[in-house]
């Protein structure tokens, strides 16, 4: 038996109706009191088991309660319509200044994406490789046998000397790709590399390389230079001046050092370019026949070029970051509202 106290029920309903913030909440209240399983319906259901006199009295009270609630809901509904209208009107006149937070991509990611886009347009695929490497793929397959003088150039961090190490160069990915795929090939990859170097404002023991490899039936330094000039002009603008000089890398022959004329002094010599007027940007060259042969590729039939760029300095220059430790060291912050224009 429902304890029918019409006044108490009416008050309770009235409170709830006045607190309803929208028509949906009002609908819930309607169902609670007047719906098929609502309070009023339950009272009416129970009336049947009451004596006649009582039945009539409770029936009237229930009816009265039903009407009162209907009326209260009707009034509140009208009020809400007005409120909604007012809000809509207000919204037409003012703006909500709570701009939602937008997410950002790391500057290194943005730069890699830009480079990837350039090379995808030229028909290159993107590839990747392991960071824990073997001596075989990091050195020997790149024409740097054990105890070769070229090992002086890279101070290795070992996991298990001499066989397992953290890759010192993204060229290890080149060695893996050459071993895994048959030419013709055109690939680029971005990778984190490790060297046992002291950390300071301009050097880090973890940094990032961007590597490219092409193997075709015929290829020349002219193709390599053309690719690089296109890349530099896309990255730094059409006025950029690039030169190519001979430079030794064990995995290539002939080797190439592409330099960009110092943007700070226009080639006159300054502290940024150490007085020489040029900034070293990359290492490249025609893939050494030993590298191809070690990958099982016939060096009499196939030729290739490979190149590697250090990404960190590019990123630092582009984003005006003065300390290389910022990139991975927890100090990259993003403005709340601004995002990079990636179009």
């Amino acid at each position: 038996m429902v304890n029918l106290d019409p006044e108490a029920l009416k008050k309770e309903a009235e409170n709830e109706i006045n607190q309803a913030a929208n028509p949906f909440e009002l609908g819930e209240i309607y169902r609670k009191y007047l719906g098929s399983k609502g309070v009023v319906r339950m009272i009416l259901k129970e009336i049947g088991s009451l004596p006649n006199e009582e039945r009539k009295k409770r029936g009237l009270l229930a009816k009265e309660l039903q009407e009162s609630i209907k009326k209260l809901i009707g009034n509140r509904e009208n009020q809400l319509k007005v409120t909604a209208g007012d809000v809509a009107k207000k919204e037409e006149e003012t703006l909500d200044f709570a701009i939602p937070k937008i997410g950002h991509l790391h500057p290194l990611t943005q730069t890699v994406r830009m480079l990837n886009q350039l090379f995808i347009e030229m028909g290159y695929s993107l590839v990747d490789g392991p960071e824990i490497e073997t001596d075989e793929f990091c050195f020997r397959r790149l024409n740097v046998p054990l105890d070769h003088p070229a090992r002086d150039m890279q101070d290795t961090i070992y996991i298990e000397e001499p066989d397992f190490l953290l890759r010192t160069q993204a060229s290890s990915i080149e060695a893996r790709i050459l071993a895994a795929y048959q030419p013709p090939l055109k690939v680029v990859c971005a990778g984190r590399v490790y060297r046992n170097e002291k950390v300071n404002k301009s050097n880090h023991f973890i940094f990032h390389h961007y590597q490219g490899v092409v193997v075709l039936e015929r290829i020349s330094l002219k193709d390599l230079f053309g690719t690089f000039t296109y890349l530099f002009k896309k990255m730094y603008g059409p006025e950029v001046i690039v030169r190519y000089r001979n430079k030794y890398y064990p995995e290539v022959e002939p080797g190439v050092g592409p330099d960009m004329q110092c943007f700070n002094c226009q080639g006159k010599g300054c502290s940024l370019c150490k007085g020489v007027g040029w900034i070293e940007m990359a290492g490249a060259g025609i893939i050494h026949p030993n590298v191809l042969e070690m990958a099982g590729i016939d060096s009499q039939r196939w030729m290739g070029f490979a190149f590697g760029l250090g990404l960190d300095r590019w990123v630092m220059t582009k984003y005006k970051i003065t300390d290389i430790r910022t990139l991975l060291g927890g100090s990259v912050g993003y403005r709340y509202y601004e995002n990079e224009n990636t179009l």
Binding site: I102, A150, F205, K222, Y336
Partner: protein
Amino acid sequence: MSAIDITKMKILYSQIKQLVPQLKANSREIGAALTMTGFMMDSLKKVNFKGRPDYLISFEVRQNRPDCLSVIGLAKEVAAYYGLKFMLPAVAVRYPKTGQLNIGVEAKKYVQRAFAVEIKELKNRQSPAWLKEFLSFYNINSINLLVDLSNYAMIFTGYPSHLLDKEKVTGRFFWALNNEFNEITTLDGSRIPLKKKEELLIRDEKNGLGLAGIVGGKIASLDLGTDSIIAEMAVYDRVIIRRNSRDLNVTTEASHRLGKDLDPNGLDFASQFLVSLILENCGGRMTAKPFSYYPKKYLAPKIKLNPALPSLYAGIEIPVAKTVKVLKNLNFKVSQSKNGLVVIPPENRMDVAIKEDVIEEVIRLVGYDKIPANQVPQLRIVDEITPKIIHLKEKIRDILSILGLDEILSWPLTKKEINLLVNYRNWENIATQNSVNEEYPDLRQSMATGLLFQLDEYLKKNVSHIRLFEIGKVFGKDKGRYSENESLGILIQSLGKSITELKQIIETLLRFLGFNDLRYRIVDTKPQLANPYSCWEIIIKNKAIGILYKLQPDYGKGNIYFAEMNLSELARLLESFHPNPVIELDKKLISLDANVELYEKEPLDEFLGEVKKKIGEKNIWAITVEDAFPLENNRIRYTIRISYQGLTDNEAKEKHLNAFGLERNISHNFAV
């Protein structure tokens, strides 16, 4: 031992002029020329030498070219570039033809050539100013005249030598592997412990006198009272010099040169140059015929060269005559054969062994600046081989940044204690053996390490709204093998106490990628940092691909939630299915509800999987759980709404009845 820069060689402009008398180019032009041909000018300084203005040019020598770690070698490069004659200084030494020195070589496997001479009645003294001045250009301290002349000869010729006080040598002097001495004290007093493991020594019958090819010992060192010496000069198997230098952690000017392919034949001139310098500056006389050991004379290789190849490699026409001229300027011997050219490099060019070496020589001297660089190559189209995981990572970055998360990148190195807090996988910690960063020697096992570090950094700097992600590698040793996989870590700081916000990010991400078959289960191995009551495994297609948890309340940074997913695994799953969400919408959709009561333990996703099967994928537009209401006896009542497509009302109702009504004792409550 002073620190040396092993890739640099300096040369005075006046020395180049002396060796290439016809040279007209100035120091800056020479620097630019050699830069283009493989020796980058590192610096150019105005200096005074012997009271005259001069220029000291520093070049980078990266190649396996010990010949260019000398004044002679670099001057030869200048002569070759300009096509001028190179003039080696005249040196005439008359060696005694009789007598025999008590000197020998026991480590025959490692000594390619050795020379020694005994000189007595000489006068040692302080070096003259010009010599001290010269050595200071190379950061070499003056010791005394004899030692300084030895260093001068090394810089001029590229061949290190070693002078010993004859009076301090006991009995026979010889080269041998160490099996006797536990340490050696060097000239500067440093004590180097020896391992008796293939260490090549110069020694006498009593003492170790020096590490051969690396550094001399104190025992037989020269002083101002020295009046008789043994002067030795040798060329070794470079491998043993490099190994000894590396294993004993001693790098010197000598080891740097002898650890490369130094021409044994060049020792003739270098040793004469040294002896003549000593005799000229210190007087003295040789006591006997010099000791000479050279069992197998080095002969330069004959290399066949197709004369078309330099043009093919460069991409421009290089006439054969030009190729021949360039090679002759470099002192290569060139002859014609039926099949092309036969090229013999000069003996000091031990780095030239195959045709590609010769091609590089030709092109670098012809000039890279002659090759056009402004034509975008029209290379042939090749197969696309980009693996799916690279596209996956890029897509994830886009989605998460749109959802308001910032990408960070962090060190993959951490420490074992941090790995222990965040690892949830059954793999072992991997430590580096020699990382320069001793504080963080271990490879991370979870992306949480970097994200938590970043959280701390941001909190220190009052950054709010912290919602981060990182994609990178995590590492562990699995069944004895080094293993790594691509991983995504997401970390958010939330005002809410529920994990729902992060769960929604993950679900949006995964559904966007095409994964619908997503569920969670309680994790068996929880990371120590996780709140054990709020830690779930993320399951896709019955495969665990990651973890989702709230950090322990005592982590003390507010409500922090973390999720990690194995992207390598996710990429494999992506490759296994090809969802197609596009349909032809030719009929109105029909939505029907059903109430289903299940025990709490009964997984809803499995039940819905069965329902899907019964209805058939092609007629399902959507399945949504509209309500979940807890009942007594650990049961839950779910209101499930199926939206049917491509069916009439009656067909939909029939499918609905079949799917829910026939096989389970459940209540139905249809609503259209």
